[in-house]
């Protein structure tokens, strides 16, 4: 190619080689800027100066608030400000487990979501895992290792601990159930170094009975895994498998799969519950029978005999029971649904569980609804072993003790003895994250990471693995416990991360991947891993029940049943205000625990309690007495009282200390197991007044069919509109119309999106995960007991719990006013219905009309919007809201010492949990559910970037995504293919939306506020309406 050498002139000067040009040719700017020859400052200069001076001074005078924001000097490539990153990990606090995906913003974990790969647990979160994010930012956590409760550094700790362990005669490692293979082998490493090491596993709420029974009957001490989704008939005798259970998320999901109706499906499972406390399981039962805990054995035995009678199995001798009617009914149906039924018992009595196994075996449920070979690892604890340990501890034969993330001083029945014994120990080590009841007594504190800072793997169910990966680098100078074990085991210096990888390195599946890293990355990406290479054992039932005998009639006196609290579980996260603020699904009380007593008992003792009022009772259980308030609980079995665990922490932290009393001391150890129910209880109610903070005080919905619409399956099968309260109004020309049809206005059409939600009352088990999810997602302040007492809970989403009233009390000659009273009082053994209630996003919103400053208006997508910074707080909108879902900022809840318990807004660490996409509301403004508008926006933006319309599932509200039972369905009603459109059979008309699904209804339809939230009728699988049955 011919080389051209064109010369481009900078100008004529270059062409003519102008002298000036040549002189400056190398300079970028031809000529310098003219120098200003200095002259004495003129008057104008002076004025300029003065003007600037004044301006500067006045600017300096108005002090700008100091904002702590640290910009990225070098931005991590993976982190984009305002763009969330998601990491699959696993919730593991105490012995609770949940596979999660964690949402992080600017490197801060701010929200837990269910892991969509974790099908084995319904892909959902739990109340506790939702709230656990805040525990990460808990100021009360240990900032680093300690020796003798004084700050130390790891090198010293390691050295001293290693020496101490070496010199110790015996090493005991106490922990809750360990179901992490890597952790197990890390402990094993320690065992190799110190052969004397004994690993004691216990669980605050143990499954001893079930474990021992399985050992007896199947020869393996492991829990069977249930599949409720396959069951047509379920019988629970004292087992709260929906509410308080190691796999309640899974159970919820499976159970509700059998309760869904519509689109042709017209049958559902039936659940019989025989229990003493009103539990979530009882609340969801079709038939609930109130029994005393001491009767459980007898009921199981009788049920067994009834079934065995038909199927020719060995009988057991069983005492008579009060209610055979339901038992027979249940037995009959169990037989008709052989192989498609489940019987579960809650008792920790080995024999009761053995008989339950035998019963399930007779019914051929093993292999269908129950899988003993695919066992659940979540509970392994051995009460007997633990009990032995406490004895050893007392007679100083336990040697050096390591408390691995467990807190027996609080959550073991013999806690006090342990406490005193620990002080006598030469070497005691705790890995707890805070100086809790146990850790505050030990010599060495080697605080573990929070699970969100940790690496780990888990095997909740045989062959099912899930993984933990750090979602944030450790906030404090903590170290993962497993790593500590490796250190102390001496020879190993690798990090636990490497250790974990080395363990998985040998996995056969690695072969299917280009290299190990891609295999491991894949594990972490999906978070869970179904490993079919793990071969299941082949266990068979082998036991002769005839040896068992259940003599001994029901105990006479008052009996107590101690249960896991719905909010706090066993009390592992005792310092988490979100859990304390969550009101109990049944009693609706929060920030407290109490004993639940039956209405009969209250009447018998002449106790009348007013609005949120209670009285202190002296509760005495085998010898020790505590003062505790009482709550009258409809459905509580006569002669029994209930008590929740998880309260009464003394060293949990500022938020959780000394709230309620601990129930653990009342747990009775007998026959090699801890028993969570016992007799020999006395309750003596004092005159001392007490106030219980409740978010709901009404018992029933007073027969208001415009609030709740329910029916029974029998009716539903006849008519899909069963239970529907179909209001018709007559117009001037006498036509009967739906209330929606008549209006003064032209109305508006929502053409782009029209967001809506469907809530299936049949699917909602009332667990409350959605309420916590909402609190986390939307920066909802915690207001504490005092304000709840003032009726000022800030929850945007509440679950209204309604009991049925006793229709039999209403007769022809009942007075008009008495009918009203009866309708407001719960029946002795009521049916329960849960109604999640949040802003209904009315298209004709009464709140919008009355706001004087138009701070709340309707969006073009059907959202009822709240403009916080325009709100002047007249509260007129809240008054005019027929659903009373608007929440007012009565005080400044953030940066306010009066609300220290609201840790997510009152200390710098806690504030890291706040969702940056949601405003923290100022004092004096109104707030309410926004349908998670921030999620809608980001979903739309994501779709827009990908240059497409948002498809169904892109956008899910926090509550819907947390729901373990898919009771809440959120979506775009304009999209004919969306789940909600299909579910509700949405019919779009020009200016209004109609749902053609027979079960779908609006709460308060006659007001014609045209909500975008639909409810679906509650259908119970009963043969007769409760009234008729009561008569029968």
């Amino acid at each position: 190619m011919k080389k051209t050498n064109k010369v481009y002139w900078k100008g004529l000067e270059q062409l003519t080689n102008d002298v000036e040009f040549v002189k400056n040719a190398d300079k970028e700017f031809g000529t310098m800027l003219p120098e200003e020859e200095s002259e004495p400052p003129s008057r104008r200069d002076f004025l300029k100066m003065m003007g600037f001076g004044i301006a500067a001074a006045s600017l300096a005078a108005c002090e700008a608030p100091v904002r702590k924001a640290i910009p990225y000097v070098k931005k991590p490539t993976t982190v984009d400000p305002s763009i969330p990153n998601y990491y699959a990990t696993t919730y593991h606090v105490g012995n609770e487990y949940n596979a999660l995906v964690i949402k992080t913003r600017e490197g801060r974990p701010i929200k837990a979501e269910g892991n969509s790969f974790a099908t084995f647990q319904g892909c959902s979160t739990t109340t506790q895992s939702e709230a656990s994010i805040l525990s990460l930012y808990d100021e009360e956590r240990l900032r680093g290792p300690q020796i003798d409760q004084k700050k130390a550094d790891w090198s010293d700790v390691d050295k001293q601990v290693s020496d101490a362990l070496a010199s110790a005669s015996k090493v005991t490692l106490v922990s809750y159930s360990v179901f992490s293979p890597a952790t197990a082998s890390a402990i094993a490493e320690l065992g190799n170094k110190y052969p004397s090491l004994e690993h004691v596993m216990y669980d605050p709420i143990s499954a001893q009975g079930e474990l021992e029974a399985n050992k007896e009957t199947f020869g393996k001490r492991a829990l069977a895994s249930y599949d409720f989704s396959k069951a047509k008939t379920m019988v629970s005798i004292g087992s709260d498998f929906i509410g308080a259970h190691h796999s309640h998320a899974t159970n919820n999901n499976q159970f509700v799969q059998t309760r869904k109706l519509g689109n042709g499906k017209k049958d559902m499972s039936r659940l019989y519950v025989f229990e003493s406390n009103m539990t979530l399981t009882g609340a969801n039962a079709d038939y609930r029978v109130r029994i005393k805990p001491s009767e459980e054995a007898a009921y199981v035995a009788n049920l067994y005999n009834m079934v065995a009678g038909k199927l020719g199995g060995g009988r057991v001798n069983a005492p008579k029971v009060a209610d055979t009617k339901h038992l027979q009914k249940a037995a009959k149906e169990l037989l008709t649904n052989k192989g498609a039924s489940i019987v579960v018992a809650g008792s920790n009595d080995r024999n009761v569980q053995i008989l339950t196994n035998a019963l399930n075996n007779l019914l051929g449920n093993y292999g269908t609804t129950i899988d003993i070979n695919k066992h659940v690892n979540l509970r392994k604890g051995d009460d007997a072993q633990m009990n032995q340990f406490v004895d050893n501890l007392k007679n100083k034969s336990a040697g050096a003790v390591i408390f691995y993330n467990c807190n027996p001083v609080y959550d073991h029945p013999r806690g006090e003895e342990i406490a005193t014994a620990i002080s006598g120990l030469k070497v005691s080590i705790s890995t707890a994250d805070r100086p809790d009841e146990t850790a505050s007594l030990v010599k060495y504190n080697a605080p573990d990471h929070h699970y969100l800072e940790s690496w780990n793997d888990f095997e909740p169910v045989a062959g099912v693995f899930s993984f933990s990966q750090p979602t944030i680098s450790n906030l404090f100078d903590t170290r993962q416990a497993q790593e500590s074990f490796l250190r102390w085991s001496g020879n190993l210096t690798m990090s636990f991360y490497d250790y974990l990888q080395s363990l998985w390195g040998s996995h056969p599946k690695v072969a299917n991947f280009p290299n190990f890293q891609s295999f491991f990355d894949n594990l972490l990406y999906e978070g869970v891993f179904m490993d079919e290479t793990v071969e299941a054992d082949a266990l068979a039932f082998n036991y002769d029940v005839s040896s068992l005998s259940f003599t001994g009639a029901a105990a006479k006196g008052l009996e107590i049943t101690i249960v896991e609290s719905a909010a706090l579980g066993a009390g592992f996260q005792g310092n988490n205000p979100w859990l304390h603020e969550m009101s109990d699904p049944i009693t609706k009380a929060c920030w407290d625990n109490y004993i639940t007593v039956s209405a009969e008992w209250a009447d018998a003792n002449g106790i009348k309690l007013g609005y949120m009022k209670s009285r202190i009772a002296n509760l005495t259980v085998n010898g020790n007495t505590v003062e505790i308030p009482i709550v009258v609980q409809p459905g509580q079995a006569e002669g029994t009282i209930g008590l929740a665990l998880g309260y009464g922490r003394t060293k949990a932290g500022k938020v959780g200390n000394n709230i309620g009393v601990s129930g653990y001391p009342f747990v009775k150890y007998a026959k090699g197991a801890n028993h969570f129910s016992t007799d020999g209880v006395s309750v003596e109610v004092t005159e001392k007044e007490y106030r219980i903070a409740q978010t709901q005080t009404a018992e029933t919905y007073a027969g208001r069919s415009f609030v709740i619409q329910e029916s029974i399956l029998k009716e539903y099968q006849k008519d899909e509109y069963a239970g529907r309260h179909q209001l018709k109004i007559t117009d001037a020309s006498g036509n009967k119309l739906s209330p929606n049809a008549v209006t003064l206005w032209q109305g508006h059409s929502y053409n782009n999106h029209h967001w809506g939600m469907a809530i299936d009352l049949n699917s909602c088990t009332g667990c409350g995960a959605c309420t916590v999810a909402c609190q986390v997602e939307n920066n909802i302040p915690v207001v504490g007991k005092k304000e709840i007492l003032n009726g000022r809970s800030m929850n945007w989403l509440r679950i209204d719990r309604y009991y049925s009233y006793d229709e039999t009390r209403i007769t022809e000659d009942t007075g008009f006013l008495d009918v009203g009273k009866i309708k407001e009082e719960a029946a002795a053994n009521p049916e329960v219905v849960f109604q999640p209630m949040m802003c209904q996003q009315c298209n004709n919103a009464p709140c919008e009309t009355v706001c004087p400053v138009a701070a709340t208006t309707h969006s073009s997508e059907g959202l009822n919007q709240m403009t916080y910074n325009r709100c002047i707080g007249t509260r007129y909108c809240a008054n005019n809201c027929p659903y009373k879902v608007r929440r007012f900022n009565w005080f400044k809840f953030h940066d306010n010492k009066q609300f220290a318990m609201n840790t997510s807004m009152n200390n710098d660490l806690g504030k890291m949990v706040l969702n940056p996409d949601v405003t923290v509301r100022a004092r004096g403004v109104m707030e309410k559910c926004s349908f998670c508008v921030q999620r809608i926006q980001s979903g739309k933006l994501r779709a827009k970037k990908e240059n497409r319309r948002p498809v169904d599932g892109d956008i899910i509200s926090a509550c819907a995504s947390a729901c373990p039972t898919d009771a809440m369905v959120f979506g775009d009603m304009n999209d004919p293919n969306s789940k909600i459109s299909k579910l509700l059979k949405i019919k779009k008309e020009e200016k209004r939306v109609e749902a053609e699904e027979p079960r779908a209804f609006h709460a308060l339809e006659e007001l014609r506020v045209m909500p975008n939230v639909w409810y679906m009728t509650k259908i119970r699988n009963k043969d007769e309406e409760s009234k008729k049955e009561a008569h029968a």
């Binding site: 809970s793 309604y802 109604q835 706001c851 400053v853 002047i872 659903y883 009373k884 608007r886 004096g924």
Partner: protein, 468 residues
């Protein structure tokens, strides 16, 4: 000039001459403050101080210092607001409506009652501001002002905004009406003034009034037209206040009967308050000859009438509720009468419906003591009426799940006291420095009683009627 049939007993007794009128009324303004007055003043200032503490706390801490909650967003705040507005109805009503109806007995009481109106409205206006979560913004954001955020207007669909316009209009028009009436009397005091300062002050206040026939004729027209405008205004104010409830969806609020029923109630309580104040004033200021028993009786009759209207309204509500067939509506009223707040309902009933019926007895109607007592009872009852409407309707509405109870705090009471302090402080200042009776008007009827009508006067009468 006006005609009295000979049979009617005179409105002004004691054979007062026009000059006596000037003397009797002006003397109060010119004398040194009486010890009784000083005492009364001290008490009201005390109340004001105590109340201010609560108001301060309220503004500093937030609405949370009151007892209101999520379910019961309004309680004492709006109860007090409506109560004061109600009281603030009598004054303008007396001067406007009675003027239109040529009820000359109004003349000796309208000045004081108009003053009361204005002060009551000031007290009422405190609450819409104080009850806001963010009054420092709400105070002006509620007005349709152009602003830096661009187009950010107010919501004219909101009854609260209607209130803003209604109350401010009512207040300013009443103020003007009252002041127009005061001008000639200020002139009187100006001309009697003995020292320079008061001469200057009352001179300014009198706007240079000289009483020229031309001005008087305009003055008459103005007051007549103002009366014509103020009458529908008076009725509109409480109608619009009642819209706050009537246009809502809450059972117990959503009631078309509210406008007339509220207006009647307002007149009822307003007259009661006027009575309470005048009975004291006439005693203290020895104005028995101007505010005679006949005046009191007249007002008591108005109280019987309005009280009965209110009573009928209460019963009608129940009937309509049961007739409506709306479950929630029926419950709301059952709950009023037999629910946890039944004590409020029954005290309302006794105070508002039973007690005024006593006035059917002439003996009670014409006894100062009983009038005084009943007038106070009526206003207690009217407070309970608003409490019942607001709190008992809200605390149990549609969804039992959100039902709640209300317990007042000391700051609820403190804020209420504050307005009492304010009211009486203002009223006593008025009673000392302003002529408490409209001298000019009273003078015009001193001679009137028992005169023969002349043809020309009839013309005048009719001419004026045409104007209305």
């Amino acid at each position: 000039m006006v005609v009295e049939s000979a049979v009617r007993e005179p409105l002004i007794t004691g054979g007062k001459s026009v000059h006596d009128v000037t003397e009797d009324i002006s003397r109060r303004v010119e004398q040194k403050p009486a010890p009784t007055w000083l005492l009364a003043m001290a008490v009201s200032l005390g109340l004001l101080a105590v109340g201010s503490y609560s108001v301060g706390t309220l503004l500093w801490e937030g609405i949370g210092v009151w007892g209101n909650n999520n379910t019961i967003g309004w309680a004492w705040d709006i109860t007090n607001f409506v109560w004061w507005v109600g009281i603030g109805h009598a004054g303008t009503l007396i001067s406007a409506v009675l003027l239109l109806f040529r009820q000359r007995w109004r003349m000796s009481i309208n000045r004081a009652s108009e003053a009361m109106t204005i002060f009551a409205v000031i007290c009422a206006a405190m609450f819409p501001v104080l009850h806001m979560g963010r009054p420092w913004l709400g105070a002006f954001w509620a007005l349709p002002l152009p602003n830096t955020y661009g187009s950010l207007w107010v919501n004219f669909n909101s009854p609260l905004l209607w209130d803003v316009f209604a109350i401010s209009t009512y207040f300013s028009v009443s103020l003007v009406f009252w002041y127009i009436g005061l001008i000639p009397d200020f002139a009187t005091i100006r001309d009697r003034a003995t020292n320079k300062i008061s001469a200057a002050i009352y001179g300014a206040l009198s706007f240079g009034w000289v009483g020229a026939a031309r001005d008087w004729s305009r003055y008459e027209t103005v007051s007549l037209v103002l009366a014509g405008l103020a009458t529908p205004l008076v009725l509109s104010v409480h109608t619009i206040v009642s819209f706050d409830f009537a246009t809502s969806v809450i059972p117990g609020w959503h009631t078309t009967i509210f406008p007339p029923y509220f207006v009647a109630g307002a007149i009822f309580s307003g007259f009661a308050m006027v009575l309470t104040l005048l009975i004291v004033t006439r005693k203290v200021y020895k104005l028995e000859d101007y505010i005679t028993l006949q005046h009191l009786e007249m007002m008591n009759i108005v109280i019987i009438v309005t009280g009965s209207i209110v009573g009928i309204a209460y019963i009608t509500e129940f009937f309509i509720a049961s007739y409506s067939g709306v479950e929630a509506e029926q419950y709301a009223f059952i709950n009023r009468a037999f629910g946890p707040y039944n004590w409020a309902y029954w005290s309302m009933m006794t105070c508002n419906v039973i007690s005024p019926q006593l006035f059917w007895f002439k003996k009670i109607r014409t006894s100062i003591a009983s009038t005084f007592i009943i007038s106070i009872i009526v206003n207690i009852g009217m407070w309970f009426e608003r409490f019942v409407i607001i709190v008992t309707s809200l605390h149990r509405d549609f969804l039992p799940g959100s039902w709640s109870m209300f317990e007042p705090t000391i700051h609820d009471m403190g804020t209420y006291l504050f307005t009492f302090g304010l009211f009486f402080t203002l009223f006593f200042l008025f009673a000392k420095f302003f002529p408490v009776i409209n001298m000019a008007e009273v003078k015009s009827i001193v001679k009137a009683t028992g005169e023969k009508v002349t043809a020309k006067e009839v013309q005048v009468e009719t001419a004026e009627k045409v104007e209305n």
